[in-house]
């Protein structure tokens, strides 16, 4: 292409506070329609908003994690528009004085690090959901989501490819997960992105006309939408036509975007300061407390895993891509004292199960404590590798305590020498051919008898001990 692609993202994130932004209603996803609302979030006459302080805290936390400056003085504004999904016919947002501004996020593109500017992060409230019936006659409104706290992260137009857009969104998603301000469940719409894209002729200084694509809710779709839009614009410019400034809707199933409204139809939101909410003043103490609550972020964790714990970079990358996984890794490493072992297990057996059963297994049954315990039991030789896998499977299935599982299934390694000797002797007696092979110098026979002995011990013998005893017994025939 003869053009540079210029992309900026606007990312909307639902905060996982327990209540909504201006009232005491539950902030949980879903629920029967219109059961999680009250006169305040329904915008009934005479009601007033009261800011949930957690929203301020979470926003500042996200801002600090993205290296933003935090405004000492900030305020709320009303964004006025008529649409039934917004019960007050205006959205409380922040217009000219956002709470966080001037930050950045570093992303890894190939083996290079690139810094993407964060212009601002501001607080706003989510709208309800419109449900249109199939015959187009009726529309229903569910206000459960109305008043859910949102932050909008606006990046600078520093992204130069659809891939970078996807990587940035991925990186921001993991920062938000690490700081625990949002679930970032894109399929539930708790993280959605608008893609602003324009093309600039290579070498030219002037920017092209940009378009905006709204509400894209998967990482893959962001990359696809940006790619398609870049191609669409290049096609237009290539044929000597102009790109129009417009808002478009991306249809991920069709793989193309459609115009929503042009520049002429751009809404006049008539922003003005929200008179029902006093300005927000953030004091140093509050700020310091939030700063102190920010955990180590993915990039720093990854470097620590590589440099201090000796974990391969590829593994560290994968483990830190998911905070739950990284937390499980760290805790399990502490418990069993062997980070490399934990990392190996996560990269193989745990990842396989996550892929099969979903990420939920990390939250429900597998945690750092029990994984670490299982692996250290294995390391101490109390259970075998095969048993460890079995314990993990049962754990995922039932949530039973690993110690119980080992007990119940009798997985503990059998070390009673008398028992082992007895079992080995029986094996030798039952396999005279193998014994004579051994006596005639065929070392292979040892392996065969070893297998038989382990089987006789139902897999619970300690291989080293069994081998020693077997050798001793065989030697007695010499």
């Amino acid at each position: 292409m003869d053009y540079d692609i210029i992309i900026g993202l606007e990312i909307h994130v639902e905060l996982k506070t327990s209540s909504k932004i201006f009232c005491g209603c539950s902030n949980e996803f879903g629920g029967e329609p219109n059961t999680r609302c009250c006169p305040i979030c329904l915008g009934m006459p005479g009601t007033l908003p009261v800011l949930n302080k957690k929203v301020l805290e979470y926003t500042i936390k996200a801002g600090l994690a993205m290296q933003c400056k935090i405004a000492k003085f900030s305020k709320f504004d009303r964004k006025n528009y008529f649409y039934p999904d917004m019960s007050k016919a205006y959205q409380v947002s922040q217009y000219d004085l956002p709470i966080c501004y001037d930050g950045y996020v570093d992303i890894d593109v190939g083996d290079k690090t690139k810094r993407i500017g964060i212009e601002r992060i501001h607080i706003e409230e989510d709208a309800g959901k419109l449900i249109h019936d199939s015959n187009g006659q009726e529309s229903l409104i569910d206000y459960n989501r109305c008043g859910v706290p949102l932050i909008e992260i606006v990046t600078r137009p520093d992204l130069r490819s659809p891939e970078e857009a996807k990587i940035l969104l991925e990186t921001i998603k993991s920062i938000l997960e690490y700081t625990e301000v949002s679930d970032c469940k894109m399929q539930e719409g708790s993280l959605r992105a608008d893609v602003n894209l324009s093309l600039k002729r290579k070498g030219s200084k002037s920017l092209g006309v940009r378009t905006e694509m709204k509400n894209i809710n998967s990482l893959r779709a962001v990359q696809r939408a940006a790619q398609a839009e870049a191609e669409r614009q290049a096609g237009i410019l290539g044929s000597g036509c102009e790109v129009y400034q417009e808002t478009r809707r991306w249809d991920d199933n069709k793989g193309e975007s459609f115009i929503m409204r042009g520049k002429e139809e751009a809404m006049d939101y008539r922003f003005f300061p929200e008179p029902d909410l006093p300005p927000v003043c953030v004091d140093e103490k509050f700020l310091k407390a939030i700063q102190a609550s920010i955990p180590q972020l993915p990039r720093q964790r990854r470097e620590r895993y590589v440099n201090d714990l000796g974990i391969p970079r590829y593994d560290a990358d994968l483990i830190t891509s998911n905070k739950h996984l990284a937390d499980v890794f760290e805790r399990a490493s502490e418990v069993c004292g062997n980070p490399k072992l934990v990392s190996n297990w996560i990269m193989t057996d745990i990842m396989r199960r996550i892929n099969e059963k979903g990420e939920e297994i990390l939250n429900s049954h597998i945690n750092g404590d029990n994984l670490g315990w299982i692996l250290s039991s294995m390391e101490r030789g109390e259970i075998t590798h095969a048993s460890a896998i079995q314990v993990i499977d049962v754990l995922i299935e039932t949530g039973e305590e690993p110690g119980n599982i080992i007990e119940r299934l009798g997985l503990k390694v059998q070390r009673d020498e008398a028992l082992v000797v007895k079992a080995v002797k029986e094996v030798i007696n039952k396999n005279p051919q193998a014994l004579s092979d051994y006596l005639s110098g065929k070392e292979k026979a040892v392996g065969f008898l070893m297998g038989k002995s382990m089987a006789a011990l139902k897999g619970r013998g300690d291989p080293i001990q069994v081998r020693e005893i077997l050798k001793k017994e065989l030697q007695s025939y010499l």
Partner: protein
Amino acid sequence: MSICKKTIMETSELLRTKKIGAVELTKEYLKNIRKNADINAYVTVCENEAVNAAESAQKLLDSEDEVSPLCGIPMGIKDNICTKDIRTTCASKMLENFTPSYSATIYNKLQRSGAVLLGKLNMDEFAMGSSTEYTIFGSVHNPWNGEYVAGGSSGGSASAVAANLAAFALGSDTGGSIRQPASFCGVVGLKPTYGLVSRFGLIAFASSLDQIGPISKDITDCALIMNAIAGHDPKDSTSVKGHASDYLEDLDGKVDQLRIGLPMEFFDSALDGDVGAVIRNALKSLESRGATLSECSLPSIKNAVPAYYLISSSEASSNLARYDGIRFGYRNENAKNIADLYRLSRKEGFGSEVKRRILLGTYALSSGYQDELYKKALKVRSIISQEFNSAFEKYDVIAAPTCPTTAFKLGEKLNDPLKMYLNDIYTVAVNLAGLPAISVPCGKGKNGLPVGIQLIGKPFSEKLLLNVGKRIEKEIGRLEIEQKEGL
């Protein structure tokens, strides 16, 4: 003397000493309301609820040693203040059948103190107006002379108190809507400092200017009501902490050493000569009691009316956007699509004055005009605040007429909105600056209609204002409607 003419203090004493029962008292008021239906003060009279509330109040009076002086006292509340399970209409077709499932904080407070709600009071639609003529329930008539307006927008509240149809009333004041009708009807009306009284449950007109306040027969009653309604409310983020006090304490009317500023802009050519004379007479009586009077200037006051109408209409255009026919309120049932539903419901649900202000406000906030209109008005607002601040370095209280004239005739200004707006020239600046101000009856004009003097103070100086008001009341006496005696 009819029991309904008595002040809260007097009535409370009778209730406490069992000279009258709360139910009997409430029934007397209900009777009076029926007799004076021509005033049209009430939009909704809730007889059954009132009698039930009076019965509960009587139980409190019988069982408790310490009850609020408001226990058993019948009151009326302006119909833009939400009362749970009682229709709250804003005198608008839009909310004609709206019954809230929640109560305003001040109604809860008054209920807890045992006050008895008689009903909801007429007003200009959504509190937009200065005459209580813009109401779907018909104009309110001034109890002093039925051909004249009661003022507005709390015209129902002021006329009800003046005509003894409630022992006291609650109004709301966005640009003078408590003080002006209080002045026209010869009763006391206080607009508290912005943030002193909770706005939760007050149906918003202009959020940064609206404030609920009492309308009462005398100053002591006003103080007593303030004791019940002032104070921080966690449900209203703009309400302030730690400023409410005991307004009855030291209410002795002492004004010696008091420095009173008289802004020349409030004594200009717009001021009716007759009204001016009554005001000067009241001021002289203060002077004779040791207060000093000095002329001062608030030069930007001349811009207060335009700034007020831009800011209040801008906020109103946003506050009233929620009345779209979707969730509550009036809906046009024939609309074919969403745009029609909005358009027709709002066209038919709002009256002409409300629509005028929504249009004005929408225009003032539009991109391309916002800087020239809304933002410039905000600048004027802050200059006016500064001018008041510097005046209060020299003066304890600023005194002025509440209105340039006494009540005008019904219909007189109905077709001339600008003339109607200019009736607010002495009241709107106070709301822009968020200050407290009280209108105290101080005499009658030659036409026999009441005149109110307006006392303006620093933020949270309500006690001082009440005290100065007390002095005026002592000097001049309450204005009582003689001709209504015996009705």
